[in-house]
């Protein structure tokens, strides 16, 4: 079993909301996304192009001023373990969304492959009026590397 050791992280940043930029979603962005994923392009009754829900995942970003600094000794591989996205209002082409990121949680689990650390972040997308239009929750897992080539 790969050996992993102590878990350390920046406790002061837990549940602190930090701004991490804004995005304006263009028609070209939507076209590129739909071409790549096979998602059909949808319009509302007035002809505005709707932003696919999971396209917001493309703009998921947790680069913030002060990070979580999660470190599990011996765990050099970080992988995305899961994500959830919840949408409260439809987003359309041309909309500008402000993003913010919150370091929500960190915990460990031990299994056959050793101890793994899970780091959970929440990304909030807000419209021009400051209203929450979508929330994404992301879980990263850190573990020791597997055998090369598997």
């Amino acid at each position: 079993m790969p050996e992993t050791g102590d878990l350390t992280y920046n406790k002061e940043m837990l549940n602190v909301e930090q701004p991490n930029g804004s995005i304006t979603i263009t028609k070209d962005h939507i076209q590129t996304y739909c071409d790549a994923t096979g998602h059909p392009i949808s319009q509302d009754e007035s002809g505005r192009i709707e932003v696919p829900v999971n396209m917001l995942n493309v703009f998921f970003n947790r680069s913030v001023q002060v990070g979580s600094d999660v470190k599990l000794e011996g765990a050099s591989v970080g992988l995305n373990a899961g994500r959830s996205i919840e949408v409260f209002d439809q987003v359309f082409e041309g909309d500008t969304l402000d993003r913010s990121a919150i370091f929500k949680e960190v915990y460990t689990k031990t299994g056959r492959s050793g101890t793994m650390a899970f780091e959970v972040w929440e990304i909030l997308f807000k419209n021009d009026n400051g209203e929450l239009v979508a929330r994404a929750t992301d879980s990263m897992v850190y573990r020791a590397p597997g055998k090369p080539g598997k």
Binding site: H29, T32, Y33, D35, A36, T37, G38, H39, P40, S42, P52, V53, N54, M55, N57, V58, F59, F60, N61, S63, V77, L79, N80, A81, G82, R83, S84, I85, E86, V87, Q90, D138, P145, G146, K147, P148, G149, K150
Partner: protein
């Protein structure tokens, strides 16, 4: 079958999906992950590269193998995008309100998989139908590297 008549136990039309290198590059570019990859910098210029702007498990085979993968892998959340596409192709009038997905195993770039699902709950409200679906990505060997649940609205009835 019209969208409104979809009921518990109905299964999505299986969608074939091959997350290839071009698709991954296209979506990574959209994220800005590749936008400054390889830019030349002055010696004293601070790097503003994104976390994935250098060689990594999605773009560089050696990096992927060094991390224990047999080849380039697909960013986990791209599977969610395929799930949404499968739902929209099956129920064009639907809107996904929530999608929750667990990435159990990595998806390899170039591997063909199928995206499917089943309706597990149906609630009829005044002007809409709300469906709950179990969704999955299935490999040729029957393994399901990703699975999730979705809350989907169909309106107006």
């Amino acid at each position: 079958m019209d969208d409104i008549s979809i009921d518990v136990g109905d299964e999505l039309d299986l969608m074939d999906w091959v997350p290839d290198k071009d698709m991954v590059a296209s979506l990574m570019s959209l994220s800005g992950w590749l936008s400054n990859f390889g830019d030349e910098k002055d010696d004293n210029e601070e790097s503003n590269d994104s976390p994935m702007s250098g060689p990594n498990r999605f773009t560089d085979i050696k990096s992927a193998q060094d991390e224990g993968f047999r080849g380039l892998i697909v960013p986990g959340n791209y599977g969610m995008m395929a799930m949404e596409s499968a739902v929209k192709q099956w129920i064009p009038s639907s809107t996904i309100k929530k999608l929750d997905c667990v990435f159990r195993q990595p998806l390899m770039q170039g591997d063909q998989v199928q995206v499917g699902g089943v309706v597990t709950d149906r609630v009829e409200e005044l002007d809409k139908v709300i469906l709950e679906l179990d969704l999955y990505i299935m490999r040729d060997d029957g393994q399901r590297p990703q699975g999730g649940t979705a809350i989907v609205e169909i309106g107006s009835i």
